[in-house]
């Protein structure tokens, strides 16, 4: 049995990350097993709870590396909460890792086993600034949690918004998990911003925006967040606090472009919805890039093993690049079954999965365009797009 470990928070402030990542791994494993497995092996997904904290994550990863049942072939995660602490361990173990971190410190990653298929947070900061400018906002507040992940996009958001001729004030770092943010809310109300950029954990977001709704005489201003605010837990908490319809009408989330149609998406969504026994309320992840991405990561690793004719992580790791990158003569495949058939026929493949094309740079980072979607469950139709070119214009 080949094992993919979902190594991320399952408890603590970022507890939703675990089920979300697992919601990508399980459908992928199902499709791989339905398709005959990998080189005669079945695959499975296991969870390792990092608790979203480096102090807990390091021993958890060490235990995972020592005791994973079956044969550990790949890791999904870690997140920004613990990536800095655990990536060296995973690199030393030579395990291909698809992290869910946007930390800029990995923009020039040197580990051959690190594969980031989602945009870095600093890129996201530029994308949020571009979106706000597109909407005509010339003044905005920024309210971000003071965690590593929460603060990662703030410098580029400030820089990008300023370069676009707009004013960001106030910029409030929030200590998450407190019982009240009324004083911070008052600072926002006093500045009367046209919009608020945000990333807060669900509980803090619910408290902050509920108090903002109470104190503001003109209701909630437009909220521009990142993909964190599309997580079911955030929508549930903040939507419950301010009203789901209010949230839907005032809030957009900027997230990596993820098409919700086509063969790759259909395969993902069908397998996801067919995994109801293992994934709680699977439909909540139908349009979630942070479930689609780990799904693609597992399929990618499986195809790389087939191409390498080896399940040895140190051997197949190099083939991750070749099954994802565009190359002359490569056949585009959108599912594991298509990829396996093409490889069996001796063809070169390029896997384009549910998250869309991946194009790694020399640092194993991939950046594309972004969607703006309303803050509600399963918002399939983007209300706008931020092109990779617009982001690149700021990211000089």
């Amino acid at each position: 049995m080949l094992t993919f470990q979902v190594a991320i928070a399952f408890t603590g402030t970022d507890a939703p990350f675990g089920p979300e990542t697992m919601a990508g791994c399980i459908p992928a494993a199902k499709l791989i097993n339905d398709g005959g497995g990998v080189l005669g092996h079945k695959v499975q997904c296991q969870s390792t709870n990092t608790q979203g904290d480096p102090a807990d994550a390091v021993p958890a990863i060490e235990k995972m590396l020592a005791t994973t049942p079956g044969y550990l072939v790949g890791v999904l995660g870690p997140s920004s909460d613990e990536a800095s602490a655990v990536m060296p361990l995973l690199e030393e173990a030579k395990i291909p890792t698809f992290p869910v971190t946007g930390q800029p410190e990995f923009d020039k990653n040197a580990s051959p086993y690190f594969w980031r298929t989602l945009p870095a947070d600093d890129t996201l900061g530029y994308a949020m600034a571009v979106w706000a400018k597109q909407k005509g906002y010339t003044s905005a507040a920024a309210v971000f949690g003071n965690s590593v992940g929460g603060q990662a996009q703030v410098p580029t958001l400030k820089q990008g918004f300023s370069e676009l001729g707009a004013t960001l004030n106030p910029v409030i770092p929030i200590a998450e998990g407190l019982g009240s943010y009324r004083t911070e809310v008052q600072q926002v109300v006093a500045a009367n911003p046209q919009a608020i950029f945000t990333e807060l954990d669900p509980q803090s977001g619910a408290t902050f925006y509920s108090e903002l709704q109470q104190q503001s005489t003109s209701g909630l201003p437009p909220i521009v967040g990142d993909q964190v605010i599309l997580e079911p837990a955030w929508l549930s908490a903040v939507g419950g606090a301010v009203g789901a319809s209010t949230l839907l009408n005032t809030c957009v989330a900027i997230q990596p472009y993820a098409p919700t149609q086509g063969a790759a998406y259909d395969a993902y969504n069908t397998a996801l919805l067919g995994s109801a026994g293992q994934v709680q309320k699977p439909d909540q992840y139908s349009t979630d890039p942070y479930a689609m991405d780990p799904y693609d990561s597992v399929i990618t690793m499986a195809l790389a093993m087939l191409e390498a004719r080896s399940t040895n992580p140190a051997t197949y790791n190099a083939h991750i690049l070749t099954v994802l990158q565009p190359a002359s003569g490569a056949v585009e495949v959108n599912t594991f079954a298509e990829g396996k058939a093409a490889l069996t026929a001796g063809k070169h493949i390029r896997y384009v999965g549910a998250i869309g094309p991946v194009d790694f740079n020399q640092y194993h980072n991939s950046t594309g365009s972004f969607d703006a979607v309303r803050c509600g469950p399963n918002q399939n139709t983007p209300v706008g797009t931020i092109s990779a070119a617009d982001v690149a214009a700021l990211n000089k």
Binding site: R182, T183, Q203, A206
Partner: protein
């Protein structure tokens, strides 16, 4: 200046919730000498009791009542069924702390296992906004502050003027001597757990209202400021806990006006350390060290 006045108002709301919780925490510790780190999770359980009542159609007052009753009953059961057996077998302070941590984890994860990592909201309405000068409150927040004042006054009256209050103070001061004087210390301890649990429940429901949402981990996340308020006033000293709650609540909100809001908890805890440097046993402890529970 108006920002500071507003922040003081916001601090009063935080202080009201903290005071309810910290007084309950310190009252129970003063009488029983058990540092009950499951206190935050009893708060959570109380909120779920209140939530159940609201699902049956109950309003805010019924929810608060259910929270108080739920907290009181669970606290009593924890003591009778878990803590007392360990105490009878000679488990000492550090061991009891581990037992209470275990109880906390069991309660928290029981809710997590049963209900999942889901956010809940008490459907009691937000209340209308009331502006008092530069201060802004909701009617729910005014209710919570009023309830805290009444509860604090009630605790004062009970401890100062009633037989059970005097019995509590005597038990806190010297249990063996109190027992030899004919005070039924077992019953007094039960009443202390019930009273502490009721305050814990009221604090939990108040917290859930001010937070807007709650989860299985909400109560435990607020245990540290509760203990801080209790320690600031002097552990075992209800009046000290009231003063500690006011200090933690107001300092944290007012500091957010002057320094980065991310450090507002740091500011409150810095005050805590400075006070403890000057008065190592808390503000009230030295005043009343020889009298058990202050009165």
């Amino acid at each position: 200046m108006s920002a500071v006045v507003a922040a003081i108002g916001f601090g009063l709301v935080t202080a009201a919730v903290l005071a309810l919780a910290a007084v309950g925490f310190t009252l129970q510790f003063g009488v029983t000498n058990i540092l009950n780190l499951a206190y935050g999770d009893v708060m959570t359980a109380s909120v779920f009791a209140a939530y159940g009542v609201t699902l049956l159609g109950g309003g805010l007052l019924l929810a608060l009542s259910a929270g108080a009753v739920g907290g009181a009953v669970l606290s009593l059961l924890l003591n009778r069924c878990l803590y007392m057996p360990f105490l009878r077998r000679g488990t000492e302070l550090f061991g009891m702390i581990i037992v209470t941590i275990s109880a906390a984890l069991i309660i928290q994860y029981a809710f997590l296992a049963a209900l999942g990592p889901i956010f809940f909201r008490l459907p009691v309405g937000e209340g209308n906004v009331v502006r008092l000068g530069a201060m802004t409150f909701t009617t729910n927040e005014l209710l919570i502050m009023g309830m805290a004042v009444v509860a604090m006054a009630g605790i004062h009256v009970v401890l100062r003027y009633t037989r059970i209050g005097k019995a509590m103070r005597a038990t806190a001061g010297d249990p063996a001597l109190a027992r030899s004087c004919g005070i039924p210390t077992g019953r007094v301890i039960d009443i202390a757990w019930l009273a502490s649990g009721a305050l814990c429940g009221l604090a939990g429901v108040s917290l859930a209202i001010t937070l807007a949402t709650f989860t299985a981990g909400t109560g435990s996340a607020f245990l540290v400021p509760i203990i801080a308020a209790a320690v600031l006033g002097g552990v075992g000293q209800p009046y000290g806990a009231m003063l500690g709650a006011l200090t933690v609540g107001i300092v944290s909100e007012v500091s957010a006006v002057y320094i980065s809001p991310q450090y507002k908890s740091v500011a409150a805890f810095t005050i805590l350390i400075l006070v403890l440097v000057i008065r190592p046993h808390g503000i009230f402890a030295e005043v009343s060290a020889s009298r058990g529970l202050a009165a």
